[in-house]
């Protein structure tokens, strides 16, 4: 391909008289001013278009190829990208899933003003390039399928040289090409060419270059099939897609005109507007046309072209607009120096013959990072896919996501994908409390008779399991006579200890010298407290009452088997059994979390000394700070405590609440004990820590604690079942009622009706009386007296007199008129249904059942078998579709 010489081809100036020259000069000045005016407008509106350096991009008709143009024209291919793929040297990523590769470039055209791609390309692209001299050059990237048709290299030359602002192939009749030009005197500014028309009579010229020149009539090889718009400037062109011989053109900074190839003599339609740039037609709907000027996008309705339907203001000057080819009426716009593309989804609505102002849903898409985008192009077939190019030359392949709507049912999450599909997913992958609630409800959690069994079901959650253990323990202690019988079934430590009074009912103080405990070197002694109520509290904490009891050994062994070595050792120390603690620590295998450090702890323990100034004590105090295990910390804090101040031990939050309570019960004097318990209770209550129920019991504070737990976790199930099992007093309170209602509601929405029924039955067992009222009564058709009342009496009498004979009743006990007949077997109701199906009959088979709508009925068994095969009522002449009017019976 040769370099093209872009000299202007003006006609030679005619010889003129002086007067004519003067006149002409004036005219030229006038025209010059006009040209200047037009040029400035042109510059302002087209400053980002078509200037060399400003980059444009366009998808080609070949689905994975696109071109860019600016200083040169580049052809690219888009290929799927994989992580393990090495990019070719010419390749670069355009998205996470695709990369582009330069195939070839064409540097022959430097003054590209406009460009379009021949829509009928199979393998190779044929470009039509509008040049600064008004010519339209047809070119390819090297040898191509179009060579046979002799198209590449041809030029379509206008009579007079001027800018070619727009070039556009017809979307349907591909061979038709429109070129929009600047003004030249009275010459036409729109030329329509037919690229097939000049093939046959066209021979290669001597230079080897095809030329089609309309300028010199002598060598005219082809001429435009149509010319429009004399004395006008054409800024932009658009073919209509439906009526494809119609062309819209933005002209003269003041009109959009519509031309029809079939009627070349007149303008079909026109409107006056400044928005003459980027005129574009909606590929899906000929009704709409869009154009822009500066900061405004105008939307036109061809049925009422005088006035724009709506204008869409933009913050910055618009540089490009384009309708999406894949969506019904979606317009994209790009503003100058912007990194985003604005999308407008325009919907027209007609309400009772009145057209509403169209609804415009706007959104902003950001293809890639902050780039100054200069152009974009929609993919013709891939929905919502567009390419963008930035000033830097960076290219992005971006798919606009349609707005997704989403909803969450009882177990499934569903979301939309554009217009065509929905996707759904079981929500079980979200590890949430609702999944556990469902699972536990299926296992009859909360309604199991025995507390321990419920605890068993939640052993994955320690604090829940602890609550059930506490409930179990209080019941056991009550049965053992340790806790007083009374209404308060599940008292907390706080209420148990509330009887202790530092004056009236004080605890016994026990002093024990360390030397008596096997530490002959020790001088001091340890003080602890005993009281009947303290013992009860200790038992609630599962702690042993006596230091030397068998229970003590068992308790520690249990802890050891549960691998709670430090806890066991600490409890041993707190019961003043240092030797035992050392044994436990030494026994601990090395494969625990602590490794062999427990042996070292045992060694440290063996050096125990109560001398406040001893090296041991000082060393320990220093070490405690660095310990992480709460029990070990507590152990040494206890042993190094000065003046019976156990605050550090008692406030060790890592310890189980039971242990903290037990320590307080052992070592705190009466006044401090109550104070500490209240504080601990409030603290745990505020945290919503279920372990705190041990302290609060089923008091009002306990209820507050449950509320807090619910607020924290959303575990309505445990909250409700614990409240209904342990807080009988509060069953009538608003809070508990509300919880119960919520829990029942979620069971219902899971269709777990049986589980809800179980729960209801359990609830009812806590309340006396309140048996739900009878729902249905049977009365005689004739005398209107109740039959069901009689039946109930009969039943009661039967139970009273222990008669085994079943009451048979086939007529009204009052008026002796017969009961209605079963519509199937035609026997009176009250008789046995008999064995018609061959299966063993149950009492239910003889039950009286009927349709709520037509009030025909009979024996349940008969009715059921009838409706297995029928839709309509068994009574002749009754057209009731009893079966279908039944509540929603699921999808067909």
């Amino acid at each position: 391909m040769q370099f093209y010489d872009c000299s202007y081809h003006n006609p030679p100036p005619p010889k003129l008289t002086k007067a004519q020259k003067d006149k002409n000069r004036r005219r030229q000045w006038k025209r010059g001013r006009k040209v200047v005016f037009q040029l400035t407008e042109l510059m302002s509106s087209l400053s980002t278009r078509n200037m060399s350096g400003k980059l444009e991009i366009q998808w080609s008709p070949i689905t994975n190829k696109f071109i860019t143009w600016g200083a040169e024209i580049g052809l690219y291919q888009i290929l799927p990208y994989r992580e393990d793929l090495d990019l070719p040297p010419t390749g670069f990523k355009v998205s996470d899933t695709h990369f582009a590769q330069v195939l070839t470039t064409n540097c022959n055209y430097h003054l590209v003003r406009s460009l379009d791609i021949y829509p009928k390309c199979q393998k190779d692209l044929l470009l039509a390039i509008g040049l600064a001299n008004g010519r339209v050059a047809l070119t390819t990237f090297g040898p191509s399928e179009h060579d046979a048709a002799n198209l590449p290299g041809k030029e379509l030359v206008p009579r007079h040289s001027r800018y070619c602002n727009a070039v556009l192939f017809n979307p349907v009749e591909h061979n038709i090409l429109a070129a929009g030009l600047d003004k030249y005197r009275a010459d036409s500014s729109i030329l329509i060419w037919d690229i097939n028309k000049f093939n046959s009579n066209n021979e290669p010229t001597s230079s080897g270059r095809m030329a089609v020149n309309t300028m010199a009539p002598a060598v005219e090889l082809a001429k435009p099939v149509a010319e429009f718009a004399t004395s006008d400037v054409t800024f932009s062109l658009a073919w209509f897609y439906g009526s494809n011989r119609v062309l819209a053109a933005g002209m003269n900074s003041k009109n959009i005109k519509i031309f029809d190839l079939r009627d070349q003599n007149k303008i079909v339609n026109s409107t006056t507007t400044k928005a003459v740039f980027g005129v574009c037609t909606n590929p899906n709907d000929d009704t709409y046309l869009a154009s822009y000027v500066e900061n405004q996008i105008y939307l036109w309705d061809m049925r009422n072209f005088e006035k724009s339907v709506v204008t869409i203001p933009q913050t910055k000057p618009v540089v490009k607009i384009a309708w999406s080819p894949t969506k019904y009426s979606s317009l994209a716009s790009l503003q100058r120096e912007s990194s985003v593309i604005n999308l407008y989804d325009i919907k027209q609505t007609v309400v009772s013959n009145e057209e509403l102002e169209p609804n415009i849903m706007d959104r902003i898409v950001i293809p890639g990072s902050n780039h100054n985008i200069t152009s974009f192009s929609w993919h013709a077939t891939d929905e919502n896919r567009l390419l963008t190019i930035a000033v830097s030359g960076a290219i992005k392949d971006y798919t606009v996501f349609d707005r997704i709507t989403v909803n969450w049912s009882t177990n499934t999450i569903v979301w939309s994908q554009g217009r065509k599909s929905l996707r759904y997913l079981e929500d079980s992958f979200v590890d949430d409390v609702s999944a556990r609630i469902k699972e536990r409800a299926k296992q009859r959690y909360g309604v199991q008779e025995e507390f321990a069994k419920n605890g068993e079901l939640v052993k994955d959650n320690l604090s829940l399991a602890n609550v059930w253990n506490w409930l179990q323990l209080t019941v056991k202690l009550k049965e053992g006579g340790i806790l007083p019988e009374g209404e308060d079934n599940h008292p907390g430590v706080l209420s148990i200890l509330s009887n202790i009074d530092p004056v009236q009912n004080k605890s016994e103080v026990v002093t024990m010298a360390w030397s008596e405990l096997g530490y002959p070197n020790c001088q001091t002694s340890i003080v602890f407290y005993r009281h009947e109520d303290r013992d009860k509290a200790l038992q609630l904490c599962s702690w042993p009452l006596e230091r030397d009891s068998q229970y003590m050994t068992d308790f520690l062994t249990t802890l050891e088997t549960a691998k709670a070595y430090t806890r066991a050792a600490t409890i041993a120390v707190l019961n003043l059994k240092l030797e035992l603690a050392m044994d436990i620590l030494n026994r601990a295998p090395d494969d625990t979390d602590y490794g062999s450090t427990l042996n070292i702890v045992a060694m440290a323990l063996s050096g125990f000394s109560d001398d406040p100034v001893s090296v041991w004590k000082q060393n320990c105090s220093a070490c405690i700070q660095r310990m992480t295990d709460p029990y070990l910390k507590a152990m040494f804090n206890f042993l190094t405590a000065i003046d019976d101040n156990y605050d550090d031990v008692l406030n060790e939050k890592g310890m189980a609440v039971d242990d903290r309570v037990a320590i307080a019960c052992l070592y705190l004097p009466d006044d401090k004990l109550l104070e500490y318990m209240k504080k601990l209770g409030d603290e745990l209550c505020n945290e919503g820590n279920l372990d705190g129920l041990l302290v609060t019991g089923n008091s009002e504070n306990g209820l507050k604690l449950l509320q807090k737990y619910l607020d924290n976790t959303g575990d309505i199930q445990s909250t409700t079942v614990i409240a209904s099992r342990a807080f009988h007093e509060y069953l009538g309170s608003h809070t508990v009622k509300n919880w119960i209602e919520n829990y029942r509601d979620i069971l219902n929405s899971w269709k777990m009706f049986h589980e809800r029924g179980d729960f209801d039955i359990m609830l009812a067992s806590f309340k006396n009386a309140e048996k739900p009222a009878q729902q249905v009564f049977v009365s005689c058709n004739f005398c209107g007296k109740s039959i069901s009342a009689f039946l109930q009496n009969a039943e009661r009498n039967r139970q009273l007199h222990k008669t085994s004979s079943k009451t048979k009743l086939s007529s009204c006990p009052n008026c002796r008129k017969p009961l209605p007949r079963c519509t199937i077997c035609l026997l009176y109701m009250g008789t046995n249904s008999g064995d018609i199906s061959g299966s063993k009959s149950t009492p239910f088979d003889s039950w009286f059942s009927w349709c709520q709508t037509c009030r025909h009925g009979g024996h349940s068994a008969h009715i059921c078998t009838w409706f297995e095969e029928h839709q309509e009522c068994p009574v002749s002449g009754c057209n009731c579709k009893c079966f279908s009017v039944d509540a929603f019976a699921g999808p067909p």
Binding site: S409, G688, S749, S884
Partner: protein
Amino acid sequence: MCEAQEINAEHKDLIHDVAYDYYGRRMATCSSDHYVKVWDQNSEGKWILTSSWKAHSGSVWKVTWAHPEFGQVLATSSFDRTAAVWEEIVGELPGPGERGTRHWVRRTNLVDSRTSVTDVKFGPKSQGLQLATCSAEGTIRIYEAPDVMNLSQWTLQHEIQCKLPCSCLTWNPSLNRLHPQMIAVGSDDPNPTNGGKVFVYEYNENSRRWIKLETISSLVDPVHDIAFSPNLGRSYHVLAVGTKDVKILNLTPVDDEQSAQSGVTKLDIETIAQFEDHNSLVWRVCWNLNGNVLCSTGDDGSVRMFKMNAINSWKPVAVLKGDSAQLSHAQYNSISITNGSTSIPFSQTARYIKLGSISQSRETPWH
């Protein structure tokens, strides 16, 4: 291992809303193509299209189910300035062994709005059959069917002027009889200088009127969706707002003498979490059954989930994204706002799940 299943919805235009019935076994979709479709889950768990009809003469924005105790009832709202109530009825002449054909009939058309009806929602069932709509002209309307057996009769009970165009509304689903009925609406007015975009209203028994409790002035960006979480006996209400990001607000009723006397709830409103994970406009928010997990969608083309770990502590847990998505890996810009000294740092663990094949990672990032 769980995998997202696909339903071929075949709407001709963008699907705007999808709604489940109370049991989660029926589903309704609505679209810009003016159609509403109803889907039922068969015994194998597959969703089958059972009805499809042209419901409006404009884009259908929202669809919602009534509680099943009122029958099979849907309400829709549309750009055509109306909201409609639909009831499913059993058709004529089913053959033996077949179920009757079902179709939906329009029971009423609510035509009070002069502009697009942007949202419609049934009220909590404890208050009977109530319906709230909101419209682009900024009016909230509360309708009631005095006779639940006759769905063609609805009376306009209340009209609340909101001054800004409304885009979405949500009823507080609390079953607590001590809580008065509450509605929150969002506005998509684009001008930040027009102030707060979320309004909370409450029905006042004394004056028998709906009164505005709060304008949430911290939310000045356009709001696209709003949802109260299922209350489930909690002592506070949680409101999710989809605006330029995902916001989660706690609304705690304050017990004090003043509110007890006036009968007007005083709310303590705190923004508990805000997530900029979508890095773009947030379009929809919805809650799971428990109100512990929030789900949102945004213009980044992803569905994201956020889970409550403890009170006031939320973190992202999962992202579902498009198969062919040209989506860069989401950066977590989550901000935890905790009033007080305890601020639990978010661990930036979220599981990415491809829409095509969902693989579940074994580890659980929480606990």
